[in-house]
């Protein structure tokens, strides 16, 4: 039985204070999440529309960390 992936791709929709972003996940049927720009990605200037790679929290489905800029 496959497991739902934790590392997924998304797109920034809004910048929030404290290196937080609203991120829309590319996978259909998943809601927006609040993601923290973690590690190196905290130094990036992310703008709405930017593709990002996100690691979802296994504790809270509405939160995640941005690992870096995404490809697509």
């Amino acid at each position: 039985m496959p497991e739902a992936a934790l590392r997924v791709s998304g797109r920034v929709v809004e910048q929030l204070p404290n290196a937080l972003y609203r991120v829309e996940l590319t996978s259909a049927g998943r809601p927006h999440i609040t993601a923290h720009a973690a590690g190196e990605s905290g130094l990036l200037r992310l703008r709405p529309g930017d593709a990002v790679e996100v690691e979802l929290s296994s504790y809270d489905p509405g939160r995640g960390r941005i690992l870096g800029k995404g490809s697509e």
């Binding site: 039985m1 496959p2 497991e3 992936a5 590392r7 996978s27 259909a28």
Partner: protein
């Protein structure tokens, strides 16, 4: 980091995986036109209980059945019900069981009656991609190498690989770390060490890679409605290379090891 299993623990995994694959064989024979998916679930359950094991999926995060049965455009996690199989259906059977606290997990996709050439090709390529992934299960390689090998085979034949669901470590829980995606660059993610057990499970679509989950909260279908196939085997990483846990130990028999 996945827990490294001892030789004795691997023997239990071996038994669990053996039961799963034998049950899948029986289910593949039972998947004929006109049979209800609920009936296959019943067969699976009886088989597992008779073998002295316990169904692994029943009750897992509220999953209501022993078997996941995913017909045609359904990718994975299809719930058995009243639906009857038709001639030409492509049916994914995914099954797990527990023996002595250790989990076995495997899946295969079968054609019902006469299936189209493209469906047959899809199943063949998916199984080949699984084999390519297993071939990378050697100490020193990384989890990303497995996904890359799977992706190369599947996309090389013009199919696409599902991103939203991934393989996983397996052992005393159905899903252990690490996650094993079926795509991505080689040389990334966790390093493989002897004694790790991974369930590798490519899900391959004829059309695009996108999937969505139906309102039942489980069944995943391809967004474009194209056919999808799913093969899965549990593999232990041994010093000599991969050991497909449902098969006999492939290397020269050895005494206990770490």
């Amino acid at each position: 980091m996945s827990v490294q299993k001892s030789w004795g623990e691997l023997q239990k995994m071996h038994r669990a995986c053996g039961i799963v694959v034998q049950t899948l064989e029986a289910l593949a024979r039972a998947a004929v036109p006109g049979v209800a998916t609920k009936e296959l679930d019943r067969i699976a359950r009886e088989h597992i209980v008779k073998a002295g094991a316990r169904p692994a999926f029943l009750g897992y995060r509220g999953y209501p059945a022993t078997l996941c049965i995913s017909v045609n455009e359904e990718v994975v996690h299809g719930i058995p019900g009243e639906r009857k199989l038709k001639d030409g259906d492509v049916v994914g059977l995914d099954l797990g069981c527990v023996v002595d606290g250790f989990y076995g997990d495997a899946a295969r996709t079968v054609g019902v009656g006469r299936v189209s050439d493209s469906a047959r090709r899809l199943m063949k390529v998916t199984e080949e991609s699984l084999r390519a992934g297993i071939e990378k299960c050697r100490p020193g390689n990384r989890v990303g190498d497995i996904g890359h090998a799977v992706q190369e085979v599947a996309e090389g034949q013009g199919f696409s690989v599902v991103r939203e669901f991934v393989g996983h470590g397996i052992g005393t829980a159905l899903h252990e770390d690490p996650q094993v995606p079926n795509y991505g660059p080689p040389g990334r993610r966790e390093r493989l060490v002897p004694g790790m057990c991974l369930a590798i499970e490519p899900m391959v679509n004829v059309g695009g890679p996108d999937v969505r989950v139906l309102d039942d909260g489980w069944t995943a279908v391809t967004t474009d409605g194209s056919l999808s196939a799913h093969f899965e085997l549990s593999v232990a990483i041994m010093p000599e290379g991969p050991w497909i846990l449902s098969e006999p130990y492939p290397y020269a028999a050895k005494e206990a090891r770490a």
